[in-house]
Point group: D2
Chain length 350, copies 4
Amino acid sequence: MYFASDNSSPVPPQVMDALARANEGYAKSYGADPIMDGVRARIRELFEAPEAAVHLVATGTAANALALACFCPPWAAVYCHAMSHIEEDECGAPEFYTGGAKLVLLDGADAKIPPEALERKLGHAASVGVHNVQRGMLSITNTTEAGAVYSPAEVTALTEIARRYGLPCHMDGARFANALVSAGCTPAEMTWKAGIDVLSFGGTKNGLMGVEAVVIFDPAKSWEFELRRKRGGHLFSKHRYLSAQMAAYLDGDLWLDLAKRANAAGRVLSEGITALPGARLLHPTQANMVFAAFPRAAHRRARDAGAAYYFWPMDQSLDGPDEEPLTARMVCSWCTTDEDIARFLAVLRG
Amino acid sequence: MYFASDNSSPVPPQVMDALARANEGYAKSYGADPIMDGVRARIRELFEAPEAAVHLVATGTAANALALACFCPPWAAVYCHAMSHIEEDECGAPEFYTGGAKLVLLDGADAKIPPEALERKLGHAASVGVHNVQRGMLSITNTTEAGAVYSPAEVTALTEIARRYGLPCHMDGARFANALVSAGCTPAEMTWKAGIDVLSFGGTKNGLMGVEAVVIFDPAKSWEFELRRKRGGHLFSKHRYLSAQMAAYLDGDLWLDLAKRANAAGRVLSEGITALPGARLLHPTQANMVFAAFPRAAHRRARDAGAAYYFWPMDQSLDGPDEEPLTARMVCSWCTTDEDIARFLAVLRG
Amino acid sequence: MYFASDNSSPVPPQVMDALARANEGYAKSYGADPIMDGVRARIRELFEAPEAAVHLVATGTAANALALACFCPPWAAVYCHAMSHIEEDECGAPEFYTGGAKLVLLDGADAKIPPEALERKLGHAASVGVHNVQRGMLSITNTTEAGAVYSPAEVTALTEIARRYGLPCHMDGARFANALVSAGCTPAEMTWKAGIDVLSFGGTKNGLMGVEAVVIFDPAKSWEFELRRKRGGHLFSKHRYLSAQMAAYLDGDLWLDLAKRANAAGRVLSEGITALPGARLLHPTQANMVFAAFPRAAHRRARDAGAAYYFWPMDQSLDGPDEEPLTARMVCSWCTTDEDIARFLAVLRG
Amino acid sequence: MYFASDNSSPVPPQVMDALARANEGYAKSYGADPIMDGVRARIRELFEAPEAAVHLVATGTAANALALACFCPPWAAVYCHAMSHIEEDECGAPEFYTGGAKLVLLDGADAKIPPEALERKLGHAASVGVHNVQRGMLSITNTTEAGAVYSPAEVTALTEIARRYGLPCHMDGARFANALVSAGCTPAEMTWKAGIDVLSFGGTKNGLMGVEAVVIFDPAKSWEFELRRKRGGHLFSKHRYLSAQMAAYLDGDLWLDLAKRANAAGRVLSEGITALPGARLLHPTQANMVFAAFPRAAHRRARDAGAAYYFWPMDQSLDGPDEEPLTARMVCSWCTTDEDIARFLAVLRG
């Protein structure tokens, strides 16, 4: 009954096997390993982007911060949702890597940016002069931090506005696979065909030990990315162990299988929770995360039974009236089992 | 015949086994995994430093840059050797992480800083005022970039000078194990007992996939380090896979065994090279790296036979007179075999 | 009829005279001039703070950004009003000087931060961990950007909350003199007695060519400020010309006289505007700035007659129905004359 | 007898008059004042560069650091002389403004960079990869920190090497007027015709209160400079007072007259010193600075008589044998009088 985070799950056996296979003899270091050649080719093929720059890092924060830094100068704004990971969960890494850019926050249901909110904010900045932080870039998260999924059309609606102001667009795809499976579209449709310039293509939350690819659709940015990555301490000497993980992730579409499993578990959990007396969803469950309110008594039972998940927001208390609803985030992963969900729902039902 | 870098070697089986063991069920993320508790305890025990802060990162550049940033303000100088890794091989990571500190370079044989050079430089800066970069800290590398080893007494001679000026002292121990084995002293004798405040305790070059510990002997710096690590994108969500590697590294003193093997191979290779006609060492071989000059003809044979190593400096050419000596760096690792060395020497001899 | 900004006014004759007097012979550079000794002593006396660090810079942005940088680490938040100058008008200088701190925005009437908003924001951040930007400091502006004035009691209400969380407090006093004259209190009562740790003590908007003092009540921060100032390029070699201006400003309480004149003009203008048909104030006029809505026809007349002031917000148009109210900011300064105001009001009345 | 620094001199009456004239009525702020239009036009005319971007700041450190930041990315090197002001006297401002670029130091007589030293350094960096700081830009100082002057041909010799590697070139012209007068060439010949991309065109050391122009010959960099200037806190609201000083400086070639006076004084002083028993020049006197060694006894007499100048290097002592030569820097300025020099020389002679 572990729903605290997809970051807490183990790694699928295919990845362990790939690591073992990669661990043979000597290999060129710092990304010159032959496995990386295959990874690069495969990602370009998947994204129908034969020129795209593809680089690996080990954390999502590094992927995002480096991606932003390549597109946003220090004196500009990154427009993002107020609940976005880059704002809430990276301890200022975007500010650090960009050299002090400003995150300008937008609100919207389900952690999605409404096009009209972006339009208004950019229009308001129309009279921007030397006194103001300049318009820099757009960053959206897909799957959003509230478990919702932007469709390619929704992405396009935002990037078209950004484009009118000359802004490049970033997608934080820490849960990109979950979004893709949910939206039922191709990687290209979700990204460059929808106006995305740079993608943090997540692997870690979806089953790897710690590997994310940054995919930049304009290859002219590739060398700058490499320099920023090195300078940030994110270039691995024994790079083959990142490559091997990513290769296994892509091989036979394992990444999509893992995301399908996680999303399916999310759906089952979401339906089960919705059926609880006094429960309601806070956001639609479109991927592997369930946000719901349900009575404190059920939370108490869950904790007593050892279930793991977070209050959302965190500062709520198990002390108080039984019937009062508390709000929680529950995350499924590739290895969440139907048994686990059933057991958890049984505990919640009491 | 692979002597290009200890970064190119595979990982020993004990580490692979530990990863497999760690890959069971769910684990708390971001360093709260129980394996890390054991790692912390073991490192404190090894260093006889029960209060030391211990944190893991995945690259040596991250370890060094974060360590420096915790001790050196943006307006100060890091005194280091002109050949040091932080100066030559990190693409400005120290400048990035410190917010623009200046690396002030010192020369000295075998990539060691002579105490009198440090004394002179610090004394010269005695009249330092607001116009100058302030005296910040000392950073030394052990094993040095020239394959030499500072003894604890030599470390102490430098840190005592630094201490007189109030400067904290960092040791880049990317090859700490090799130095320790070579010097025949304890971890404590090589570090805090010799005046070191913070150590980059390397694992990667000595057999791990990508794990370094930063050991800070004053625990008051621990929280700042954590914030800088997170902000730098170096906090792993699935941290258990770093912990597991480091645990295996320390278990049964595997780390020392690996270093002993690498150093022994270095010694054999060094002796073999020295015996070649027209060859001479550029630096004493005190660990696992051999720096030597030998005739171009031997280099040609080596390349033809597929041996891998670097010219040092790199801009030398195989074209030219046979007898002219070219200078090279050859690095052994935990998995260098006697057969490989013998074959390599045979090729060099022609 | 110039109400665009107090930055557009000339300098009073006392300041010009002081510059001429200072322009005699040689003087020590970089702040070691004897005039600065007098300035320091006088400011300490005025603020009843015999130990305070006092440093001069030439711009308000420099004063604010350096003050913040001395108190807020790169990984922390500066809590400020959404309309604050540091957020809106400094092109990211606070982010630049702090090394990437985050400005966290609070709303409130008249550009004042309501204590409950601060309390809520800090409380929400109570569960702050390594993933979040840390609580850093509070910054308030007095006179606010909406022309309102915090009383010492109001300042205290905010700083007490901040203090409970260990946060230092900054006051952007670009119009400090105007606030002081309006509140009728002493400099000490408005600052350190009300919990302020560092003040940007403005001179430029109130009559100087370009001089602001940064007053730090804890002298332990003085040297860091000096290093940051130098490194920011804000230490003047011919510092005596800054000192001389500030000396004249303080001499015989010229600074208070100038502010009284500006505030009096603001009051007259405010009352005149309020009496216009269809006009209303947007914020109470408590210092030298008037924010008001009045019919477009009056704006048209004003522009035709050559009156200078800004729409507030700027993106409004003179094209449209006569009666529709447009909102504007009008700023008086030490040299605004009653005649100018009378003429302006006559034009507005039509 | 004041030879400590040209920063200690007063301002010529023409500048004071210009300030008084500028102090009339209201003026647009932040550089939109009409006086600035004239300054821009005049500098473009002087430099035969009708498109050049021209911006004013108040300190030489700001001018240099901003100029470098516009041309050198954070991961690159600024090649400069080891004695250069940007290395020795700006407390790391270049590192701060560039976001952590590295100053790579070159040696050479008279604080000039020898072309072969630059060639060697850049060639050595030929094999530069992602691990190294990249080749960024060249910065030279004219008049050099040792009082020597690069001729246009010497400048060209350096910039041609830099150009071959694609590096832009900066000239720190804190004493540009002195160099120009000494070399007897035009501003264009000394700068863009000799390969310079950006010039810190000094006014302060040559008679202004605190104004430097940054002249960028490629106007495409202008907006970035403006944003960096604002963000650095170096955009003056009451900008007219900078403009007025610079206008007076250029008017009727006052700037050249001032430099001629300072250089003439330097020559007289240099010849007088050379004639002293036991004295010798350390560097040729080509502008307004004299570097010389002469016996300690003469130094003692000078100090007793109240003469002001610096030991160079500073850490020398008046205690010791009479005959031992001590080395000193003596700087003349536009207001150094023949009487002062004569008196000083008389004192030195004893």
